[in-house]
């Protein structure tokens, strides 16, 4: 009877509606967050983070949840003046090799090229800004033990967290070992969008906490007002606590259910 009467009160119904509306902010936050990620990912769709690190770190790096893909590579020379960069390419067969056009001109298609006693067959040429060359994953795996450090080239599923990923990559890795990180994007570009996003988020969170605090406080005051009467009438303190807790739980549970209903309707 006490609980039903509590739920029938206009103020309780109002609390439930307010909580349901506040909970609608969660999908709104999710939507805003997804829009933000999409915005970042569109800006940085052809970019990547590149760094040198030993293969022992591969598992740690692959466990960073924002990292979508890791392409490994190494630097080696083919009798050239400077080292060339070779990256794994899942589309190539074991001994296939694609050279950057700058180096390709020294060879013929079908030529056999030896690298650390591993024989490659030249099948194509390519162009890239950084003169990248491509070998198979299998070949990279066979050759990687010849190098103390490999080139890690990673793409992210959420470029808005690029700075955080950089920190994660850096974690516990001593600078003295020659480690460096190269990120091919401009960190400052989306800053206005971010400020807007965080200000809106902060305002909504503070507003929500304020409203929820007020609802809880009002219920508390109402309960306090009645507790003397109920105690005098023979309700034990345990019963009174149970009634109060049930009221809090019901207000929030019904607010949550109403929120689900609203989401279904909307």
């Amino acid at each position: 009877m006490l609980i039903i009467n509590f739920l029938k009160k206009k103020t309780t119904i109002l609390y439930i509606i307010i909580i349901a509306l506040l909970l609608l902010l969660i999908p709104l936050f999710k939507y805003m967050s997804n829009k933000r990620i999409t915005y970042y990912n569109e800006i940085y769709q052809d970019t990547y983070i590149e760094f040198l690190m030993s293969y022992e770190e591969y598992e740690r790096i692959s466990n960073i949840k924002e990292i979508e893909n890791i392409t490994l590579g190494f630097e080696a020379d083919l009798g050239t003046v400077r080292d060339l960069r070779f990256f794994e390419d899942p589309n190539l067969a074991n001994n296939e090799l694609i050279l950057d056009e700058n180096y390709f001109k020294n060879y013929q298609l079908g030529d056999t090229i030896t690298l650390f006693n591993y024989e490659f067959k030249l099948i194509d040429e390519t162009y890239s800004l950084f003169n990248d060359n491509h070998i198979s994953e299998y070949a990279l795996n066979e050759l990687k033990d010849n190098f103390d450090t490999l080139i890690y080239r990673v793409t992210l599923n959420d470029w808005s967290k690029a700075s955080k990923v950089e920190r994660e990559i850096n974690k516990g890795y001593p600078f003295e070992q020659g480690y460096f990180i190269e990120t091919y994007f401009d960190h400052d570009k989306p800053i206005i969008y971010d400020i807007f996003y965080y200000i809106i988020k902060l305002i909504l969170i503070i507003l929500s906490l304020y409203i929820i605090f007020n609802i809880c406080f009002n219920i508390y005051l109402n309960e306090k007002e009645k507790s003397y009467l109920y105690y005098a009438l023979g309700f034990t303190k345990k019963q009174l606590r149970l009634i109060s807790i049930t009221k809090y739980i019901l207000v929030f549970a019904l607010g949550f259910l109403l929120n689900l209903l609203l989401i279904l309707i909307l």
Binding site: M1, L2, L229, Y231, A232, L233, G234, K237, K238
Partner: protein, 209 residues
């Protein structure tokens, strides 16, 4: 109900050496000089405050050392309470307010008991109303019906008519006298009114009853 050499703290001192025996067929007035003492005596007699020293008997059972929970159950089973500020739950109807003490008790015919009391005090027509819809007199009658719903041995009233008009006050005292034939009624008050109705008048003087 017997109070034996009881000492009890209150905000401005100590209630000392309270000795009295209340029987369950008399109307008692306890006349006190101020409201603070009235409140403390009310809480003392209704077992809502700890006793410093002395013994409190209900049905020859010494209860002063009982836990809060046991005292609450004793109060529920043996006492009906009337408050100065009436104290009805504003969110419950008149019917529900009278029913309130029975929520804790396994008993049959709850509805019949409530309706009988509502009929007795001519509150049936307003049983679905909320306290805010009623006059002060009707509210205190509701409170009296609620106090009687458990059929307690004692009704303990703290200045129950302070907010009423003189006419209603007299009727209310008369009703308290009527119900005192088969139960004890203890009225804690600052002024002696309708003293002809009282079986015993107890004065609080020099911090003693």
């Amino acid at each position: 109900m017997k109070l034996d050499s009881i000492y009890c703290l209150y905000s401005e001192g100590i209630l000392k050496d309270i000795n009295f025996t209340f029987t369950n067929n008399k109307l008692y007035y306890i006349v006190v000089p101020d409201e603070k003492i009235a409140n403390r005596l009310f809480e003392l007699i209704t077992l809502m405050t700890p006793i410093m020293e002395g013994k409190f008997y209900i049905n020859n059972l010494e209860v002063s050392a009982f836990s809060y929970k046991k005292k609450t159950i004793l109060r529920r089973e043996n006492m009906g309470l009337l408050f100065k500020d009436i104290l009805l739950d504003k969110d419950l109807t008149i019917y529900e307010n009278v029913l309130l003490p029975l929520l804790n008790i396994k008993t049959n015919k709850k509805k019949e008991k409530v309706n009988a009391l509502l009929d007795r005090y001519k509150l049936s027509k307003v049983s679905n109303y909320y306290p805010s819809d009623l006059s002060l007199y009707q509210k205190q009658l509701t409170s009296l019906a609620r106090a009687l719903i458990n059929n307690p041995q004692f009704i303990i009233a703290l200045m129950p008519t302070d907010l009423m008009t003189k006419n209603n006050e007299e009727k209310f005292y008369q009703e308290l006298k009527n119900i005192s034939h088969d139960r004890g009624v203890i009225i804690i008050t600052k002024r002696v009114k309708y003293q002809n109705l009282a079986d015993e008048i107890i004065f609080y003087e020099n911090k003693r009853l």
